[in-house]
Subunit: 190 residues, 4 copies
DNA sequence: ACCTAACCGAGACGGTACGTCCTGTCTTCCG
DNA sequence: CGGAAGACAGGACGTACCGTCTCGGTTAGGT
């Protein structure tokens, strides 16, 4: 019997998984990434340290999972007849997802990606590339309609948009608002 | 005048200072920022740990000093009659300064700035702001000549240029080449 | 019943405990107390420093445990009909336990007890008091038989005996031999 | 030939010497021997560290000088016709010199003597031996008068007296009072 | 009056060890 | 057999002192 993929033993506790993701996110807001520890996450979640290490390589990957789940839910991929508006909509929605809490997480993840190359790879694969693909699709549709500025390739256009986004996130703290979305749209399209 | 600035006691050792900056830079290349330690820097430099901590808060500030010294020496501020060419020249020189070794240091510093807010403040003050000021001056002179794209403010233009620079540095690894400098120039100036 | 004393989690490693006690004792003989360090003990024992600090407050307490174990095993409490002989026997056995290696440890412990009052309290409670009690019992039995010198109380007699012992240990280096045991016996009893 | 020991140059500052001895003694009382540091002594005395190290090997030797000066001044060597009374007088005066402040210093010195063998040698030579000589002289005069207990040598008698003294100082904290002086006199003389 | 020598306070230097914190792994018992 | 509890080996942290080495400046002969 035992059948298909059903293995013996206790199943992974969905409750623990949620508790760990939540604890990591909460603690990040409370103490900051520098003082966020796996021990602290486990303690807050009411689990053992091993339960964290069993499912994630370290604290950064816990946050990464928390953030990607959030992004998957909150950022749509617009596809209407007005391809210029689609771009503006995408950027506005992307910026709107950058709440103070997700902002903290994103900055921490980008930092960790610089420090730990192996995590950097996972970070790019899991979060950065999918976002590039999404924006790239919107930009491509604009180009097909002849709206893209002629000296820009898709990749470079994406670099400019996400460059501005991350630069404000990481370096200046200037807001990710509708004004920036509008400005980027005009810069990329014309 | 004023005087009295002469304090008693042994002077700071310039030899140790140089040895520490050099050791930090070398070790960063050899083992990466994650495994760069103050202990390691001191050992390599042939100094005591306390001599590092006496003059710098931590390993990030050592690297910051090493990098700012480099930037001060290698990036000129062009001021010719051709204000469009000045922008292209500035960006090209900036990108050319991003050698593999300085690139590693910059990525580490930006990462540390996210993780340690106090260092972040010093990083912005010491490295980011001066670079923004420099590019801002070049952009301003272009605007005075009516060359800047009309929908761009100086700050936003700087955001776009440095955004692209840092995004490629931190996220994609795409090259900082003359092509990018040319493209940015055309995007900003129109 | 028996109550709940069973906790989850890994048990204390008896192997590490023994290794630490042994390493401390060996290193004391090799380098002396001044250059005996917790780091050295842990390294020699093949454990982490934290495993020492988890169970002992510092290097002195490690030695104290090693010495008390030794004393417990090697010094009997004689109780025969000849109460004068009992005293002589007790002193002789006590002196015989002062091998070069235990002597080193005892001198270090007495020194540390002077320097660190909190350790001093533990030292008295763990090693000094029990030894006083033991000798006190022998002296008491002698007094009940009318053998004790009339002007001596039990406490004072004990002070004289242990005073001579420790003074030779700490100050003069003169031997703790049978002659001293005999002489103390005659001085205390008569 | 030239003159004996007359050298050119600035003379040793008696003021600094006194300030250092006083600072060491005061700080010992305030913070205890464990937290007494050469840096602290120099700072309190208003001198440089080098001035301490120029004249003393370390903090223990500073205290040793302070204590021996005290002993030299306060403990007489009685020499009357009543040789039994002389012994009692000597012990009483010795015990009286053990004020709380000198007691702290003596305990610290004996501790340091165990830990640092080189200092131990200086300690014995400077403080312990002279005191033994003094008591030995008194005991010898008693023996010449036929007053010493017959089974005691001079050395052993001195061991018993100083043994009780140091044992109470280091181990039990019981008082060094006239009762102990009287009791030792009776025990040694018979 | 200058020279040279030894001292002085101050404080940076190369080092060592401290005691703490966290990592990632490993037992142990419970459900 | 997953999971909590928690001990384990390892290693960096930032601090405190050690004893030494410059500094500029003072105080004394010797010439």
């Amino acid at each position: 019997m035992s059948g298909s993929g059903v293995r013996p033993g206790r199943r992974r506790s969905e409750e623990s998984r949620q508790a760990i993701l939540g604890a990591a996110f909460d603690l990040l807001g409370e103490v900051g990434y520098a003082r966020l520890t796996v021990e602290g996450i486990a303690a807050r979640a009411g689990t053992g340290k091993q339960t964290v290490y069993r499912w994630w390589p370290g604290k950064a990957d816990v946050l990464l999972e928390a953030v990607t789940a959030y992004a998957r839910e909150h950022i749509p991929l617009p596809e209407t007849a007005d391809r210029a508006a689609d771009l503006r909509t995408f950027l506005t929605a992307t910026f709107a997802a950058a709440t103070p809490r997700t902002t903290d997480a994103l900055r921490a993840l980008m930092a960790e990606a610089q420090i730990d190359p192996a995590f950097g790879e996972r970070f790019r694969e899991t979060l950065l590339h999918p976002r590039r693909e999404a924006l790239g699709a919107v930009v491509d549709r604009a180009r097909e309609a002849g709206l893209l500025a002629p000296h820009l390739t898709t990749d470079t256009a994406v670099d400019l948009a996400f460059g501005a986004l991350w630069y404000r996130l990481l370096a200046t703290g200037r807001p990710l608002d509708d004004e920036l979305a509008e400005l980027l749209t005009r810069t990329l399209l014309r």
